[in-house]
Symmetry: C2
Subunit: 111 residues, 2 copies
């Protein structure tokens, strides 16, 4: 196996972060717990895809889903300790991007 | 546009890192410049895919490609200043993964 000398833990971490929208969902939840509808309105993805990603993040031990028996029922998502431990990762990506992503790149993204 | 309040620079940074194998290529190049064949033998991907990723990373200003007129010709890839500035990102992912990715997750990846 050619990947034998790659750190398999790093590989698992990269897999998680490299799944599209996971970084943004974690970014949002670092601000505090959120209802599904709050997450949905802050991200440019469908409710279905968001729901899928949240299930995967829950399965990976990154987020929890709590149902509060209010009327109507309130469902909140928040980061676990493992999820909150991603703060330095998200912060370092943010700092790098603020310093190094130039306006040309932003323009080409908006096309 | 629903994503209006997402930081567009963070979005561009995440796009770059979330493209599969980019993290690993940068991880490798943080150790120093590498020939194409060295990168190829350290990653579990085809030469064609590696070449594609390296072209994209070069276009994004993350890597450079230098041709040395030896016999046979020697081509080396290395990180630019913008690329080397990703060290804290890669390091924080590595540290998070070492602490938080558990053996069950590693087992499920190997299946």
């Amino acid at each position: 196996m050619k990947s034998a000398d790659l750190c398999p833990r790093f590989e698992t971490g990269m897999e998680l972060l490299s799944k599209r929208w996971n970084g943004f969902i974690i970014f949002r939840l670092l601000e505090g717990s959120q209802r599904f509808s709050e997450l949905e309105s802050s991200l440019p993805i469908s409710g279905r895809l968001l729901s899928e990603r949240l299930k995967e993040l829950e399965a990976a031990g990154i987020t929890t889903r709590t149902v509060y028996p209010d009327t109507p029922v309130r469902i909140e998502y928040e980061l676990t300790e493992k999820g909150r431990a991603l703060r330095p990762v998200i912060t370092s990506i943010k700092e790098w991007a603020e310093k190094w992503v130039n306006s040309e790149e932003l323009d080409s993204m908006n096309q």
